[in-house]
Symmetry: C2
Subunit: 410 residues, 2 copies
Amino acid sequence: MSFDFTSHLRANLPTPVPAPFSGYPEFYFVGGNNDADSLPLTKFGDIAKSILEREGKGLAKYGMGHGPQGYRPLREVVQKNLKNRAGLTCSVDEILVTSGSLQAIDFVNQLLVDPGDTVLIEEACYGGVVARLKKLGANVIGIDLDQDGMSTDHLELVLADLKNKGVRPKYIFTIPTVQNPSGSVMTLERRLTLLDLSKTYDVPIFEDDCYADLLWEGERPPAIRALDTTGRVIYCGSFSKSIAPAFRVGYLVADWAIIAQILPSKTDGGTGALEQMVLAEYASAHFDQHVNDLQKVLSDKCQTMANSLNEHFGATAEFTIPKGGIFIWITVPNSINTSELAAAALADGVAINPGAEWAADPATGLNRLRLCFASPSKQQIKDGVKKLAEICHRKTGLPERGSNIIREAS
Amino acid sequence: MSFDFTSHLRANLPTPVPAPFSGYPEFYFVGGNNDADSLPLTKFGDIAKSILEREGKGLAKYGMGHGPQGYRPLREVVQKNLKNRAGLTCSVDEILVTSGSLQAIDFVNQLLVDPGDTVLIEEACYGGVVARLKKLGANVIGIDLDQDGMSTDHLELVLADLKNKGVRPKYIFTIPTVQNPSGSVMTLERRLTLLDLSKTYDVPIFEDDCYADLLWEGERPPAIRALDTTGRVIYCGSFSKSIAPAFRVGYLVADWAIIAQILPSKTDGGTGALEQMVLAEYASAHFDQHVNDLQKVLSDKCQTMANSLNEHFGATAEFTIPKGGIFIWITVPNSINTSELAAAALADGVAINPGAEWAADPATGLNRLRLCFASPSKQQIKDGVKKLAEICHRKTGLPERGSNIIREAS
């Protein structure tokens, strides 16, 4: 007789996955996957071979003998990149290499968030952050968002209101540069106002800059942490979007006192060594050129997706073309429930992110969706958006027109 | 003015680390580090280069497009190894690749352990497991241990006693083959008795087999999970000890229902891809030969350490020479407090594991210590053990003799 684990399990576990992974749907417009043809595989291979011969003995030691903060040459590359690209000066001791920026997010939550604590996030926000905070029992409050980033006017109202109620939020989370999902870039003025509000209300800022290297239009503003001299900003970034998601290498930047408090929680035996070694060597020589080239490819795919949306959805899909990143955030009429649309589309081989999972208040996301364009080919983008429009029309009657042809009611 | 995070932090956080990592002490006899000269770095490099050219495009996708359970060719290698080496048959869907076996341990605890729950472990036990369980607020009970592994007689007494008190432990944790730290190998008879007790008392077993591939003397018994047909055993293993700790690749094996329940907790975006790819290709062709060669090196270093202990500690250090693994577990007279010895030794450049951190009941570990021999050179082992004896003599008056010379009282 098979052993029954049911009575041994903890209460309130997440729902089990229904079946082993059996491959992606035909049109996969979700997730942080990237353009496969942009990977410098020959260079990676050459670097792996030479660095293994040169430094491979370090693999016999946890953390390659570089301690719990990660491979030192990689931290030096991050340090250089942050200085050159984000205007952010830090020491290598203020950098912690993490297993993706997801681990950085987990560390910050472990440091600061108890059940019932309040955290402020942008109204539309990376689903992984929203899900984690809700799982931790945090009270998540969304701040209005426009193409200039988080509304500091609204933020001030919320902070004042909370203060009146005796609530001090644990942190303000922001993705200021190429916000996920809106693609917005927070203006310098708002960054400075945000810092002022953080000071006035004594609330730290958690800045997630993991898409910032993919900004292809306009000037990249300095990181918020770069504008601060008080250590109130904890910063994280990643090589997942700029180089390769499967490498699982991100980083957290904070004052040493914070790193020192986080390190005892890095109980994973270190982040993968080979990836750190290859990334350090590759990024040290080629990072700027790599992201410049990648931006062109992404910008082109973005335009393809925007054109396809215009062609097949017309006025039914409202969006601003992002200035960087890997996704478009789309608003549809209220009559379309994107959670229902996502389920129907997935059953038909088209994966999309329904807005309810990407919002502080799920209700505000019901007429929104996120489509990622970096990984699919341009042909897949064209075909998939067309198919999505057909599925949407079949379910909701909208969009009424596609390619200038009025669709028949189904 | 610098921002003060103090009032924002959660309560009861671990003690911050005092300073950034500044290198290992001269004699480093702790941690799962391994023999650096045994790493096949040229093969790793060749494999990395060829596999990146062949399959590198997968790096653009989270999990290389192989889903959340890990790179499928690696799961196939694990499947083959377990069948050939541990007598354990499983499907690739019953294997979850983890970021080291530490992550597997975390997953099992997340699945089963609430504060106040009881968990049974071997009296002397891997410090990482002890620390994790105590941090979770579990009631950790140690079961007696001898060179045939966990005492099933004592286990039965404890289970019966707990049952009388209305307590059903959440799981029985065992490292049956090359137990950490004792090096013992659980007999087949005890494995079967353990399974019987697990059935009688309705308590699942968590089997950690991460050192089993390093057994160089005697026959490796089948895994406990291999002897079971009911799914009551959750199993984990690792490539950290057999190939390289810095790779951070382990695996968990369980019935699909358990994997399905764990998968929603694997929120790390996957385990490092390059390591999984290189390991799969290398282990597929070379695993048995690799561990055979490594065992010879380790056995030799083990003998060097045993000789050095005999030479410099004499009767002050009692130990059984292990049949595999990377450490020796040593008992010293009660007059020596190994926690104090470890602090004094570290200050003098010799790192050792004090037994109190490696025991269910810290008091039982106060006259014990663990010395790891895989990473240091034979000369370092000789010099370090000699130095440790000198430090120990200086602090405690023991050992009285070293190299047949009576030490003077200090």
